[in-house]
């Protein structure tokens, strides 16, 4: 049973690691990687806690949520990467302008 | 007894994989890092097959099949797209 809790804690850890990197680093590609890792963390929490059904089959509802979540995450990542390339194409740097002055 | 061997071997391959991570960190050239990722793909295929046999769940073989198919896509993307143009820096030629 506690396999589920171990993986859930790992998931929560991934979420917070990603949140720290999202806020702490300026480079946009690193922020996008951080968002992906946060997403994987949330999905891990969702699926790990679905396994608390003893030796019966785990709860399929979180599994369905996570499958759609993964596909949505990859499309949001593709949009973020395209936007980053446009920003870096125009400003010459893959960093949010004005981020450092204020 | 054979069940224990499957898990033991899967664990051994996982440790193998972690050891390979060191090459990604240290790997001087970008090609070395991509190599390590390629090896991990194959190691994961082997582990999936072992876990399929250990847990008696034949579906994991489909997962292994998809991994075997897709391991090459990332490497091809690396070769075709992501290899930086400039000459590898000096320390690569050791």
């Amino acid at each position: 049973m506690s396999h589920a809790f171990a993986y859930a804690l790992v998931g929560a850890g991934l979420f917070l690691l990603g949140l720290y990197a999202l806020v702490a680093y300026a480079h946009l590609l690193r922020k996008i990687l951080a968002l992906n890792i946060m997403g994987s963390g949330v999905f891990l929490v969702l699926v790990a806690l679905a396994k608390r059904t003893g030796d019966a089959e785990p709860d399929p509802v979180p599994h369905a949520m996570v499958i759609t979540g993964i596909v949505v995450a990859v499309s949001a990542t593709a949009l973020a990467l395209a936007l980053m390339l446009k920003v870096s194409g125009k400003t010459g740097q893959a960093v949010l302008p004005g981020r450092h002055q204020d | 007894m054979i069940q224990a061997l499957y898990f033991a071997l899967a664990l051994f391959l996982l440790l193998n994989l972690c050891a390979g991570l060191w090459r990604i960190l240290r790997g001087p050239t970008t090609a070395d890092r991509m190599l390590a990722a390629q090896l991990f793909g194959t190691t994961v295929v082997a582990m999936l097959l072992l876990l399929a046999q250990a847990s008696g769940n034949p579906v994991l073989r489909d997962v292994a099949l998809v991994f075997a198919l897709l391991a090459a896509v990332t490497a091809v993307a690396f070769v075709q797209r992501a290899w930086p143009e400039e000459k590898e820096s000096e320390h690569d030629l050791n």
Partner: protein, 491 residues
């Protein structure tokens, strides 16, 4: 015919219509403008049909797929969500008429399909009764809003769209983690079922914290409002009107709905915090607005301030949460009308003068009377002067604050109103004067001016017809803490 119209399933039609419209615009770019306008008009009629049904039979519930609450997904509309649907439809219609003549053909091809998908997402969000479904609609709204913000392709639009996308994705993931904790704590994602099964333990507190933080980030509540001003200022005028009037209200509505039905009775600490942040938002937003030299940035900071008013509802709602929700919805509607009129007027001024620097508006009053009067009327509602809708909403809030002895919140509201008057009259003052180097005026299509004026007049009318509108969001129609509504009519 009358029978079909009476019991047609309006709730579902309100969602499917803009979806089909969006796909038609995407498949057939040549016809996107007309298809877009027809779809938005049809959505207004569908919302009217839904409104009539709810007024007669009470709250509307539709079990999608026929599976029922915990397993399947339900669509649910009570007075509060109907009010938000009416807001989205009317403001959306005004903005669509403006956008018809605003965009050049190349941008219009992308604007219309994305705007219709945004409209579908907002309608689905206001009708959703399932917190994971709310996550999906939030994601849909966010992606559409980011795409629209980056439409012009200029540097400031792209970088503010990037910052908006990162903030939006982080907020959605925090919200999703809250959903995961709530689901694994009580075994359901349906709001009504959750309302019965929830009891205050650490998991529910963590979920409440995560969801409030995620939704506050998406509503740009004060400390988390870093992304809103650049995004709303650099987007094209109709898009910034959409963002400020509708998209920001969507996540506020979810927070209000969750607070109303799930967390109301054990979240005193959170409501005082939200009230505090709201008060800080009013002061900080208004002061920042005073300092701006560009109209669109001024109006964007004014949005941050007015959102603060919405969050003052939480600490004052201890008496009856149904009434508090009514006040918040009313304030949101009046702000939506006024703010969209302001942004459209700002768009006209930019089209007219080629820039939106306040200092050299150069006799805008003589040459663009309709636009400046629209800006002025909207300003009346933002400032909260009678007879506008803004006044009624703020008066009710002030009355609630005074009756509960919250003099601090009352003081903040009054100071906020004065500061709002400050930055509105700053713009209007320059509109009368002559700029240092006068410039020739470029023609602004009449349709755009009239759209801005109609929305501004709407925000005034909202104040005049306050009594009928309040019948809509009457306490017994709004789902209260137990998730029960007195008159429920299952479609």
């Amino acid at each position: 015919m009358e029978a079909i119209l009476a019991n047609a399933d309006w709730g579902v039609i309100v969602i499917l219509l803009p979806l089909t419209g969006g796909i038609v615009c995407f498949l057939w770019p040549a016809v996107s403008k007309t298809a877009g306008l027809i779809t938005v008009a049809a959505v207004v009629l569908a919302v009217a049909g839904l409104g009539r049904q709810i007024m007669e039979h009470g709250a509307y519930r539709h079990t999608v797929g026929g599976w029922g609450a915990p397993l399947g997904i339900d669509l649910f509309a009570d007075g509060l969500s109907l009010f938000m649907l009416i807001m989205t439809a009317l403001v959306g219609l005004g903005i669509s008429c403006y956008a018809k003549s605003y965009f050049n053909p190349r941008d219009a091809v992308w604007f219309w399909p994305v705007w219709l998908f945004l409209l579908a997402a907002l309608n689905a969000l206001f009708l959703a009764a399932d917190i994971f479904n709310l996550y999906v609609t939030l994601e849909l709204t966010g992606l559409a809003a980011v795409t629209l913000t980056a439409l012009t392709g200029r540097i400031d639009a792209l970088s503010s769209a990037m910052r908006y996308l990162l903030a939006m994705l982080a907020g959605s993931l925090a919200y999703l983690l809250g959903v995961a904790l709530l689901y694994h704590d009580s075994g359901s994602v349906d709001i009504a079922t959750l309302a019965q099964r929830i009891e205050p333990n650490a998991t529910v507190w963590a979920a409440l914290g995560l969801m409030s933080a995620g939704l506050a980030l998406k509503t740009a509540l004060f400390p988390l409002s870093f992304w809103l001003p650049p995004a709303h200022a650099s987007a094209p005028a109709p898009v910034s009107a959409l963002l400020s009037a509708l998209v920001v209200k969507a996540s506020f509505y979810i927070l209000l709905r969750l607070w109303l039905e799930l967390f109301a009775d054990f979240a005193e600490g959170v409501s005082t915090l939200l009230g505090l942040l709201g008060a800080a938002a009013i002061l900080w937003g208004s002061l920042q607005a005073l300092r701006q030299t560009r109209i669109k940035l001024l109006v964007a900071y004014s949005t941050v301030a007015q959102i603060g008013y919405l969050f003052l509802v939480y600490p004052l709602a201890s008496a009856s949460s149904g009434l508090a929700a009514g006040i918040a919805a009313y304030l949101a509607f009046s702000h939506a009308l006024a703010k969209s009129a302001m942004f459209l007027a700002a768009g006209n001024l930019m089209r007219f003068g080629g820039h939106d620097r306040i200092a050299d508006l150069d006799r805008a009053v003589q040459r663009l009377p309709l636009t400046v009067s629209a800006f002025a009327l909207a300003g009346v509602s933002i400032m909260g002067l009678p007879p506008s809708g803004g006044f009624t909403g703020k008066w009710l809030l002030l009355d609630a604050a005074m009756s509960q002895g919250r003099w601090d919140l009352a003081a903040v509201m009054i100071i906020g109103g004065l500061l709002a008057a400050g930055y509105i009259f700053k713009v209007l003052g320059y509109a009368f004067m002559q700029a240092k180097e006068p410039h020739d005026a470029r023609a602004v299509p009449a349709g755009m001016e009239w759209a801005a004026l109609l929305l501004a007049v709407g925000s005034i009318l909202l104040g005049l017809m306050a009594s009928e509108i309040f019948a809509l969001i009457h306490p017994d129609l709004v789902a209260n803490a137990g998730g029960a509504v007195e008159r429920v009519w299952t479609a």
